[in-house]
Amino acid sequence: MSHSNQQFKRKTFDFSSWFFTVLTGAATYLIVSILAVILLNVLISGLPRFSWRFLTGGTERDMFSVANAGVWPMIVGTSIRVFVMTLMVVPVGVITAIYLTEYASSISFLTRVIRGAVNNLAGVPSIVFGLFGLGFFISYVGKGLDHVFYAGGESHWGKPAVIWAALTLAVMTLPVVIVATEESLRSIQPGLREASLALGATKLQTIFKIVVPQAMPGILTGAILAIGRAAGEVAPILFTGVAYYMADLPHSLNDLFMDLGFHTFILASQSPNIEQTKPILYSTVLTLLLLTFGLNFIAVLVRGRMRAARRSVH
């Protein structure tokens, strides 16, 4: 390959471009294939034990015995904590985003600080949220409630419980909802707000009749992403409400709960015989992955439809 030849360029073979395209391409496909390996590994090892009975069955105290393994209590526990979290985080996140975009002055220093803090919150380690849940919800709010309502008696609220785990996760996913909602609120063309206001609508009417309906797909995406992230998290619930084993399903908000992710962790780390536990471990992982990927997939679909709809508007 002679490049020294500085004649009028004929189409020469560009070695460096070829080489680096192959190199960077290889890196890309390596990442993708590792993803494929992980998913296939879980699928192949998890499918044999994956059954209706496994999904709906309870588990015994000896959770490592393969014979009677089931994940129903964990599915219920995870669903409850995610459901309660959603009830908290979506309204609060959406209202906060509405406040930040529609009411707070966009150029004030305070608003910028708040935005920065919210963005930064998204990068705070999940275990720190666990500590916060313990330090704030349980030992401050919960103990405070006990102090007020059951002075000196047993603790009803000042202990790990599903409500505290859900609230901890709500704080953790707050930035996800706020950022997604803000983004979709800001992408609405300002002309619509002006049109509504010029017709004599109040700000509130404009927000709830014009702005929020337009932003709905974005809000929905944010909510689903938050749920998807929270469903698989284990670190924040370690000290805020998850139980190693419960004979019964949780009955009230101050009960403990079992959890799919935590159960996965227990099966992987506490099993006396990991080879024997492996099949149910993988089936549990498969259940968890189906749940989180299912939610992420829905979010992608919603976002796609939203973008398509938006394109047709402009």
């Binding site: 890309t28 700000k203 670190a235």
Partner: protein, 395 residues
Amino acid sequence: MQETANNLEAKRSIGWMGLSRGHKARPLEWLIEKGIFLVAISAILVVFLIFLFVLREAWPIFSGKANSAAARKVIPADQIDKLTPAQLQAYLELTPDEFNKKDKETLKLLMEVKEEAGKEAVPDKDEALNTTEWKYILKPYAWTGYSKPEYIWQPISNIKKYNIIPLIIGSLKTTLVALLFSVPLSIAAAIYVSQLANPKVKEWVKPAIEMLSGIPSVVMGVFALLVLATFLQTIFHYNSRLNALVAGVALGLAIVPVIFSIAEDALTSVPRSYVQAALAVGSSKWQAAWQVVLPAALPGVFAAVILGFGRAIGETMIVLLASGNASIMSASIFDSTRSITSTIAAELAEAVFGGHHYGMLFMIGTLLFGVTFVSNLMGEYIMYRLKSRLEGKQK
């Protein structure tokens, strides 16, 4: 006359426009708007409270109020009346709940048990040390049974040792491995996807890589524990199956999507005109990417690495499952290791509520929070500057 009549009519027809009504005309809306304000402010307040409440539990350690020696000194049971309830509770290492539930007889019994145990225990030269002081937390010390000063984290032992240096080294070791593994890989992928690949490839590769971030970290941990550990052991032939390398590589996989998306975002935001200008003067596609686009987006790539660092050092479940969790002071990545995050996750459940071990775990949590906060801030700031610069140039 005609003039005034006309004026009056005009006034009437235009109406009084709600004079003297203002916002009082709509009290409900006024109330709702105040509600919105209130909810938003509380949500924002919680964001700022996080640091405060983690710090609050760690405060006894920071302020030097905690004393681990207090619990160890044996007090004869008949002196029970000389102790305040708080002292007694600390001495018996009970939570306030447990303490409140016990009557005086039980407490005295517990003190007797403790006294007996104290008599049987081998005397230790370090008994009177307050190991929660900063010099023991940060500096090596020659503990009983050790010939030379060493850094030791050992909260479950007769003399509780809280040296955090091994944990910091453990965290940095796994994070370093993670960055060494994921930075070249994800930046190469970002260059490929944003500059070299054809758009059709981009369309499915990008979501695929981002899908990696949808895998819960506990699942990644299980994969590291069962598959990656075996795979790496057959390559490197090391002794301890779970170590900093296994945890680091799994951690690296988890942060690939973070670094990739930010770097890809930065590279894509470099105006197309740069590339076209480079191609026009005869550069190859690769030269344009390497000599024009990458330098322009370099701060963004740097930000991606910083944010990846923050994510890696704060990750818990992967490290907990795959690092082996032994707090050994060692520079080798083939040794089992224990990070800050996995220490908190593993030990907080057994720490006495409100005790010094508990405070110590919150203290390292505060450190972790501080480190990730600063790295996030830096990353976000660099990215913000880069974007406004590139967008400014585009205009």
